[in-house]
Symmetry: C2
Subunit: 418 residues, 2 copies
């Protein structure tokens, strides 16, 4: 323990495999005799000195984390501002780290978290406190810069492609006398990565999904309705995948067009699929069903991609190795070295290059007509959903997910009024 | 072929395992040298003489049907009326069966289909046409009489319990700073079987789902909101599972309370989860997410229950055996002979006892407070979701679902103007 402790925290929306990263972090650190603390609810726990002693968990529990979705220590949606604007919080963070002899800080999240880790590293340098700050990538949105892909995305992508393929078979069987149009709403407020993944469900022109609506292309209602009708005329039914982030040409979110208030003044929660389904019903008079999978798409550990799981664990291991080597302000990122066969490796990237950047989907991934994916997109996406990694199931037919004890560490500092 | 052919048709909403029944029917008949025709889109194909020659499919394809969701020959939502009111259609059906030397008619569906099969058998007797009519059970709604459970339900139940367990872990991780309430909408317009299955996701009082809303109990908004708030106060978050069929005390569907028209006159498609989420947001001011899995819950073959798959195949095999034995107007039903260990067998039941009846969920399955399941429900449900039966996956990371050739049989009759 002479070398100090490691603090691990989870941030932002959780995924099917973020706990697999946590599992790899803890196992790698244990093997190197480094004690791992975890912050409860991400950076909030670090600020509140609400820390968890992971050494109180059995090795079996830590291994089981690798197949348990959600965020085992709690996550948070909370962004620290600039060093100047939020200096009190950054200094408190450093106080907490120092009080618990933390020499390695691993922040597992998206680009906001990379930014926080970067700023903490700068402040530590300013105060001459020896601290290795490592960002660890995670997000189903797949929008982190530098890394080829983001742990969490591959499993959500696999859920999306499999679900669309399955639901499409259902619709195909019912179309003659019942549902003719089906709309699937995919996560992705800013980029259409998950909507694109749905494209893996089919190959030919008449395979589902017949229409993908990307946030990267303006939503054109007349064009959309015409294509739905043409597909129903030609194929007998139409499966639409719409990204939650699609916008009209003048920049309004289509999701905001639905919703509003009903006649009782109650809030109507809308969404893109519900809105599009309503338009299909009104304008085309076709029977329509729609789904909003919401959290199911990012928590479906039962359908995790093996590639994604491997990468989630690899970034966790490498993050610890980088930290113990004394590297600072870096993130282990995934570098693709070959499409066929798919090969990848982990390399360190400066947090500066990741923080506050957003990776857009390449224009070349969207088919010229704007409603499908290109072979280039398929080459990129396909390896990420490859391989199965099911959790163990109990005698009761349900996955055996672990629940940690999360034993708190005794506080050493006065409460923080931040 | 001297003994005549067998006609198989699928009816009503399809399931993750109805094709497993089809696969068993065709394999069993092939082994007995009986040729199997399939009607395209259920009874509609039979009326239109739109028949498929399943002998043109390879054995590999027929075996692959057992792991392919949807309805391979197409299904339909179309109910024949009484023999008197719809006599023309019943006689046409008999003409088609006779023209193709069909001596065994297997109708795979719910209680409407059992009714159709029963009436066809009566008409055949009236015309002295030797025909064995067998109803084959199927429905995710689990509402068929006589049979202990319905093929299709166990897999949808497993999807429900697993998805609720997974999403609940997500919500638990985010609750401190983000989503505090999550609402899952389960299928079941008349009975809360699938909502009840969600109860398998947790056991203790503070395990998700914290609140199940059954169609068997009136929806009481004040009570609902108070329980949600109390759960959030006690546990930190609240997972609600609501059956699409819940009604207020005066018999109005809650699903109809949402929806309506927006300010542009567009149809707002609502649903129960969306409505409840809106009420939670308005009345309690809590951040809420919701999901409408819709067809995903009944097509998720990737998460099929092994028990369900076994039973779907068993009823298919038995249906053929009963037919070839000369039994008529019966349905192979599932008889539970023991809970622990779970044991079941297939027995013939008269279609008269199944047709047009609806099995309700026993009152003893709902907890006294109306918002959870009892140990009796757990004993009933748990074996039905037990065991995993994943489909084979391709190198592309997606399940390999089969697509049949569906070669049409040459028509022998003039078109039917029914």
């Amino acid at each position: 323990m002479a070398q100090g402790k490691l603090l691990y925290a989870q941030s932002g929306g959780v995924t099917a495999v973020i706990n697999a990263t946590a599992s790899a972090v803890i196992q790698t650190a244990r093997a190197r005799k480094v004690k791992v603390l975890a912050a409860r609810n991400g950076i909030l726990g670090a600020l509140a000195e609400d820390l968890i002693d992971t050494s109180r968990e059995s090795m079996a529990s830590i291994r089981a984390l690798a197949h348990t979705p959600g965020g085992a220590f709690g996550s948070c949606r909370f962004k620290l501002k600039s060093l100047e604007a939020d200096r009190g919080r950054y200094e408190r963070l450093l106080d907490v780290l120092r009080a618990h002899d933390v020499r390695y800080f691993l922040y597992n999240g998206g680009n906001d978290s990379a930014d926080t880790a970067l700023k903490v590293s700068r402040l530590a340098a300013e105060f001459d406190y020896p601290l290795a700050c490592i960002g660890v990538p995670k997000t189903v949105d797949n929008d982190l810069a530098v890394t080829d892909c983001c742990p969490g995305f591959g499993s959500a992508a696999k859920f999306t492609a499999v679900s669309v393929r399955e639901a499409a078979l259902d619709v195909a069987a019912m179309a003659e006398t019942s549902t003719k149009v089906f709309v699937y709403e995919a996560m992705g407020r800013h980029a259409g990565w998950l909507a694109a993944a749905a494209g893996l469900a089919g190959e030919g022109r008449d395979d589902a999904p017949h229409l993908i609506l990307f946030p990267e292309r303006p939503y054109d209602e007349a064009g959309f309705l015409a294509k739905v009708q043409a597909t129903v005329d030609r194929v007998g039914y139409c499966v639409v995948v719409a990204s939650e982030g699609i916008q009209t040409a003048d920049g309004r979110f289509v999701a905001d067009a639905g919703g509003g208030k009903d006649s009782f003044g109650h809030t109507q929660l809308g969404g893109v699929a519900s809105f599009l389904a309503g338009r299909v019903k009104d304008a085309l008079g076709l029977k329509v069903h729609w789904t909003l999978p919401d959290y199911l798409q990012r928590s479906a550990r039962h359908l995790a991609s093996k590639t994604d799981l491997d990468q989630a664990q690899a970034v966790g291991r490498k993050a610890v190795e980088y930290a113990l080597k004394g590297m600072n302000a870096v993130m282990p990122v995934i570098v693709r070295t070959s499409d066929t066969p798919y090969r990848w490796k982990i390399e360190p990237a400066p947090l500066e290059k990741v923080a506050n950047h957003e990776k857009k989907m390449p224009a070349g991934f969207i088919r010229r007509d704007g409603h499908g994916i290109t072979p280039a997109a398929r080459r990129y996406l396909e390896p990420l959903v490859r391989g199965e990694a099911p959790p163990p199931y109990g005698r009761d037919g349900l996955p055996r997910y672990v629940s940690l004890k999360n034993v708190p560490v005794r506080r050493k500092l006065p409460p923080f009024e931040g």
